[in-house]
């Protein structure tokens, strides 16, 4: 006892010994590694333990008896024999193994001596005591971990779906298709895959409508299965995947599963497919259902499980011939429902104004009601459903001032245009005595689940994207919600406890709501869908067994559009372009841009613009509203006079350059300009993905220094090593911190002032480093500085490429625009009039850019090409681009009709071009024919190249040679054409004139007077010059079809009073072709037709000659003078012999 007493008297200052103890105990100790979280936890535990022991004032020191049953001798058979003295350490079932402590201590003291330091106060007893604390710590760890596992299991078994586990498994075993219907919170998404896994299914796919859900579900299920299956549970979405060959459960997006069909027709890689959230009726899930319904007949071993909310169950069950339904009740607390319709008086007042503003009063009254009725101490937040962002902004303003006045409310917005960080704020906790008032769009209906909501205020309104397939107009309109989503909204109040739902409409309103919302397939464009059905060989799209068919007219317009875009042939098969488009995971418009960009070798900027148009706009609207002065003016430097896609490109390039200065610089740069950096990161990723697709299809050739897939991986690794060790460590620890930080909820502050110099969040830092790791920053920077030095010619070429995708989405400015402000300028397309500029567009703030500029006395006409039309309160053009009118129209239109002198052109039966100069029209048309001919020739050759890949290499080389020379020709000619300035007038054809445009087929009469000079020539009889095909008359318009888009001399010429002058145009004259120098006797139509073909032919001829010449040079030829025929030949030695032999024979 004496020794022990002495020992307790000397108070040991453990904190000074930490280093030495670490060195002794945690050197190679795998259970607690130095520097790890556990190591830190241990030291915390250690001091707590010391304190606890001290407070207990133990009379005896911990004896640290490491007693074990076996050491007592196996002889004691009595299972209840115990050591004579009770000791708590006997309750631990293991001992800690360390190196020999006596020896360790000696080493320690020796080192002290070597370093001429005082000897350590540590004794063997201390070390033993320390070891025993480790033992207690590990025991504590083991216990809590087991408890965590138990909790997971308990939570699982408390889920409503748990009761149905066996029922589900046996239903799946006995049926090919099973429908599981359960409301939010029943646990179907997390549990069903686990049940299947434990029911020994091994190839399970589970689709989700949203990417984010794939990631979080994979994580959650992996956690719940105690990581037993580690890599066996994985996710795969557009940009990321964790899938390995060992994967048994894969969470993926619906779109991705559809893409997998193209390489794996019957999805043989899966034996169970779960389609989750089918009730949401996304276009992809509807399509997938149709595909799978066909597939299950072919694969009797395939199991299909549909999971939905308890909405419209019979629709799905019936679709699969009465598939069994397992209905799982949701876990909802009772919800008190109160109808509080807004009185008519208050409705009328705001609607008097055109911009119907939301009346905040009914909402504030409910907040007051809550304040009065429910004590502050009772927690519970409010979730308000409004229709759109503007409504949210105006109510938020009111709620904030009410909150400030009462000190009880924190208003938070929630919609998809918010930054990720702003969105995440809704999960933070309100301080005691205050409530969150989350004002949201329908995003909080199913997509985002927020705990702690006790009150729901439902406006009953939703803004939905409608689509008019005729005008191709996207329309954001306000509707009453469906009964189904009304119930869904209500349910949000009862997730964590009993709640209240206030409906700002009457019960009779409710019963007049449609039962279900319109499925997406009935309100969006169907181009991609049509392409995919054809690509997947699913037969006639019109007969596809949709669960609910889209309208036939919508299908027809999509098919027509695809034909117009050269993606479909007339008998509705895929063209080479169409095949390519079907494989690109993008809109047809974007896809075409990419294909054309690679043809013209301007792919880098096109990749970026295409990526920018495919992600949500990085320019946040909130910044636009709040700090109008600052954000808008700082953004101005990025704005391009050419249009919004160029602004996007500038922003990206600038950002890449700022990136060099590190993460803080770039995130601040973004903040100041109201740019959402996340979107830019997405652009980088998407750009890379587009690039990979193009490389894969040989539309893009690997540059010499560029790495192939495998090498790229290696390069990526080497970039990892180029990061300094500190950065590597930083990245690792940031990833970890990011993971833990995400779990912790922060407490909100009452004032929302955002600190400008706010610490860069870990997430942003992580993104930055990952970005550096995955992409070659210097290469991106090279590209961006290269673009700075773009000439106008480059810019114009890029415009044409972008337009190749956008066309026919072009609009002409109204004649009266000169007198109007930017926001009031109106534009017209062929099918839609009175469009306006989107407020974020550069042309909206700088309308002068659009006016026909006077350059050297000549007018330059512009059109606006746009990415899409969006109708909110007005019909907006989104992502507008200024393009030269004549060139754009003539290069892309489906029809050019001319008068007999080509001085007057009608494009798409919509715009009229009248040239002022003589013969200009003919010249222009000849150039256009050449350009378009060369263009389609190159496209054909390039696209055919891939299928021919197996042919002789030699041939391949020759072909790409030809492509290259054609490309050069096209490049220079195109640039010339774009640079050229012709004098012309441009106007819309009024609808009253439209029916009288054409001569019509019957008018073969002679030229008499002004009523349309008929064609005098008899083209059938004549074969003209080298022209392969003589032009044939157009069946409806009259005149002659020179090419599929060009109809000559079909216009009724109103100004044609003096027929005599034009008469000469019909007479056949001697004409010398400027490119082949043949003199021909032709009329105008024949002349035009000849010129179009001749240019290309001549080019090919010249090239062929050149090649032969080169060949000759390569093969050893020499000059040979034959005495017998007295001629000089260019012969190889073999040819000389052959020649001589000929003479002999003769």
């Amino acid at each position: 006892m004496g020794g022990a007493k002495l020992y307790t008297c000397i108070v040991m200052d453990w904190s000074k010994q930490e280093k030495d103890l670490d060195r002794i105990f945690f050197k190679n100790f795998s259970l607690i590694q130095r520097g790890s979280q556990e190591h830190k936890d241990f030291w915390k535990f250690f001091y707590r333990y010391q304190k606890f022991n001290a407070s207990k004032e133990k009379t005896k020191a911990e004896k640290n008896v490491e007693w074990s049953a076996s050491s007592e001798g196996e002889s004691s058979k009595d299972p209840f024999s115990f050591p004579p003295v009770y000791d708590r350490s006997h309750r631990i079932c293991f001992n800690v193994e360390t190196d020999n402590l006596e020896y360790q201590l000696r080493v320690l003291q020796q080192r002290r001596e070597d370093e001429r330091k005082k000897s350590s106060p540590l004794t063997l007893k201390h070390l033993l005591e320390f070891r025993s604390v480790i033992r207690h710590f590990l025991n504590f760890q083991q216990k809590t971990k087991f408890q965590r596992i138990q909790k997971i299991i308990r939570d699982q078994s408390e889920l409503p779906i748990y009761q149905f586990k066996d029922q589900i498994l046996s239903a799946v075993r006995d049926n090919q298709v099973v429908l599981i219907a359960g409301d939010t919170g029943c646990g179907k998404s997390t549990q069903v895959p686990q049940y299947l896994l434990r029911g020994s299914y091994e190839k399970i796919a589970c689709t989700q409508p949203r990417r984010i859900a794939c990631l979080s579900l994979a994580k959650r299920v992996s956690y719940e299965t105690l990581n037993e299956y580690r890599t066996e549970i994985a996710y795969q979405v557009r940009f990321e995947r964790s899938r390995t060959p060992a994967t048994k459960v894969l969470f993926l997006t619906e779109g991705l599963l559809l893409r997998q069909l193209s390489t794996d027709r019957d999805l043989s890689r899966y034996d169970v497919i779960i389609i989750d959230e089918v009730h949401e009726r996304h276009i992809n899930s509807d399509f997938l259902l149709g595909v799978l319904r066909i597939l299950i007949d072919q694969r009797s071993d395939l199991k299909l499980i549909l999971m939905s909310a308890t909405i419209n169950i019979s629709l799905f069950s019936d679709y699969f011939q009465g598939a069994p339904v397992i209905k799982v009740p949701g876990r909802l607390y009772p919800i008190d429902l109160q109808y509080m319709p807004i009185s008519n008086a208050s409705v009328l007042q705001p609607t008097a104004q055109k911009s119907s503003k939301l009346d905040p009063q009914p909402y504030l009254r409910i907040l007051q009601l809550i304040d009065n009725k429910y004590p502050r101490s009772e927690r519970g937040d409010v979730l308000v459903f409004l229709s759109g962002m503007n409504e949210i902004a105006s109510l938020l303003h009111e709620v904030k001032s009410y909150g400030e006045a009462t000190g009880r409310w924190i208003g938070l917005p929630l919609h998809s245009a918010l930054s990720i960080e702003e969105q995440d704020k809704v999960f933070d906790v309100a301080p005691d005595g205050t409530r969150k008032c989350i004002i949201s769009t329908n995003i909080a209906e199913t997509s985002i689940t927020i705990d702690g909501i006790r009150f729901v205020i439902d406006s009953g309104k939703v803004k939905e994207m409608g689509y008019d397939s005729h005008t191709k107009m996207n329309r954001l309109q306000e509707f009453w919600i469906s009964q189904a989503s009304s119930e869904q909204r209500k349910g949000r109040a009862g997730r964590t406890g009993p709640g209240v739902c206030f409906r700002l409409y009457s019960e009779s309103d409710y019963s007049s709501f449609p039962e279900y919302a319109t499925p997406e397939i009935q309100r969006v464009p169907l181009e991609s869908l049509v392409l995919q059905t054809i690509a997947l060989d699913l037969g006639n799209i019109r007969k596809f067994p949709f669960i609910e068919s889209p309208s036939l007219s919508s299908i027809e317009t999509s098919v027509a559009f695809l034909k117009e875009q050269d993606a479909l042939t007339n008998d509705e098969r895929l063209t080479p372009v169409g095949k390519m488009l079907a494989q690109l995971p993008v809109d047809v418009v974007i896809g075409k841009m990419l294909i054309m960009g690679s043809l013209f070798h301007v792919i880098e900027p096109v990749l970026i613009i295409a990526a920018g148009l495919s992600v949500q706009s990085p320019f946040t609207q909130t910044a636009f509203n709040q700090d109008e002065s600052s954000a808008q003016s700082t953004r101005q430097s990025l704005e391009s006079d050419h249009g919004d896609p160029y602004t996007l490109l500038n922003a990206f390039d600038e950002w890449i350059n700022v990136k060099r200065d590190g993460v803080k610089a770039s995130s601040q740069w973004c903040k100041r300009r109201g740019i959402e950096e996340q979107r830019l990161y997405e652009m980088v990723k998407l750009r890379q993905q587009f690039r990979d697709v193009l490389l894969d299809h040989e539309l893009l050739e690997r540059e010499f220094h560029e790495a192939s897939g495998e090498e790229e991986e290696r390069e990526r690794k080497s970039r990892w090593f180029q990061l300094s060790e500190v950065q590597q460590e930083e990245l690792r620890s940031m990833r970890k911190r990011h993971r833990t930080e995400n779990k912790q909820r922060k407490v909100l502050k009452m004032d929302h002032e955002v600190d400008e110099e706010e610490e860069v969040s870990i997430a942003a830092g992580l993104k930055h480093l990952e970005f550096k790791l995955l992409h070659d920053l210097s290469q991106l920077q090279d590209g961006s500085s290269e673009r700075r030095s773009y000439s106008l010619r480059d810019i114009n070429l890029l415009k044409i490429v972008i337009c190749s995708g956008l066309y026919p989405q072009v609009a002409i400015g109204d004649d009266c625009n000169t007198f109007k402000k930017g926001s009031e300028q109106i534009f017209h397309t062929k099918s839609k009039s009175f469009l306006v500029l989107h407020p974020t567009s550069v042309f909206s703030s700088n309308p002068d850019l659009l006016f026909q500029q006077q350059e050297g006395g000549k007018k330059v006409h512009y059109l606006l090409a746009y990415e899409k039309l969006l109708e909110t309160n007005r019909p907006y053009m989104v992502n507008a681009l200024k393009v030269p009118a004549l060139q754009t129209l003539l290069l892309f239109t489906q029809s050019i009709d001319t008068n007999e002198s080509c001085s007057r052109l009608v494009v798409d039966e919509w715009l009229e071009i009248v040239f002022t100069g003589e013969d200009t029209g003919q010249e222009v048309m000849s150039i256009v024919q050449t350009l378009r001919g060369t263009w389609s020739r190159i496209l054909e050759m390039k696209l055919a190249k891939k299928s021919k890949r197996d042919d002789e290499d030699d041939d391949q080389g020759r072909e790409s040679d030809e492509i290259q020379s054609l490309e050069r020709l096209l490049g220079s000619r195109l640039a010339e054409f774009l640079d050229s300035d012709y004098n012309y007038t441009l106007s819309q054809i009024s609808s009253s004139i439209r029916p009288h445009l054409y001569k019509g087929p019957s008018s073969t009469s002679t030229t008499s007077g002004g009523e349309g000079g008929g064609t005098k020539g008899l083209p059938g009889k004549l074969t003209v010059g080298s022209s392969k095909s003589s032009p044939s008359p157009h069946p409806t318009k009259g005149g002659f079809m020179i090419t599929h888009y060009f109809t000559y001399d079909c216009l009724v010429d109103p100004s044609q009073a003096e027929a005599s002058s034009s008469l000469s145009q019909h007479l056949r004259n001697v004409w010398v072709c400027p490119s082949c120098h043949q003199s021909l006797v032709v009329n105008m139509a024949e002349q035009l037709s000849h010129r179009g073909e001749c240019e290309i032919e001549q080019q090919a001829k010249r090239k062929e000659e050149k090649r032969k010449e080169e060949e000759r040079a390569v093969i050893n030829t020499r000059e040979y003078h034959c005495k017998e025929c007295d001629r000089v030949f260019q012969f190889t030695s073999i040819e000389i012999l052959r020649h001589k032999r000929q003479h002999k024979q003769n």
Binding site: F29, S30, L31, Q33, W67, S68, A69, S70, P79, F80, F82, P83, Y86, R88, H90, R91, I92, C93, F94, N95, V96, E97, T98, L138, Q142, K143, K145, F146, R148, I149, Q150, I153, Y223, L226, N227, E228
Partner: protein, 107 residues
């Protein structure tokens, strides 16, 4: 290399005969097959710590020293004092355990 790899594969599954808790186990022994540092005082069902990125052992249970049933380490199923006893054997033989332990467990 092969043997190294085999160490990480579960050898069977463990099921608690009291509560039905089931999990994969890597060993039933006094030492962990994939990690050093701990020596168990009796044969244990050793699983893998699911919350750790590294391979670390987690004791799931062992056999009752009295009735030899497989039992998990949950406080509802067993207690450990020099050996593991299932809750039933403990309750039936409560008086034979040290008083201090009985008191501690009542707390």
């Amino acid at each position: 290399m092969a043997s190294f790899k085999r160490k990480f594969e579960p050898t069977g599954s463990f099921r608690c005969e009291r509560c039905g808790f089931t999990s994969l186990v890597y060993s039933f022994s006094k030492s962990c097959p994939f990690s050093s540092g701990l020596v168990f005082s009796e044969d244990c069902f050793i699983g893998r710590d699911p919350f750790s990125e590294k391979h670390k052992p987690l004791v799931l249970g062992s056999r009752c020293a009295a009735c030899h049933r497989a039992i998990c380490v949950s406080q509802d199923c067993s207690i450990f004092y020099t050996r593991r006893y299932c809750k039933d054997c403990f309750d039936n033989n409560r008086s034979r355990f040290p008083l201090e332990l009985q008191k501690e467990l009542q707390q």
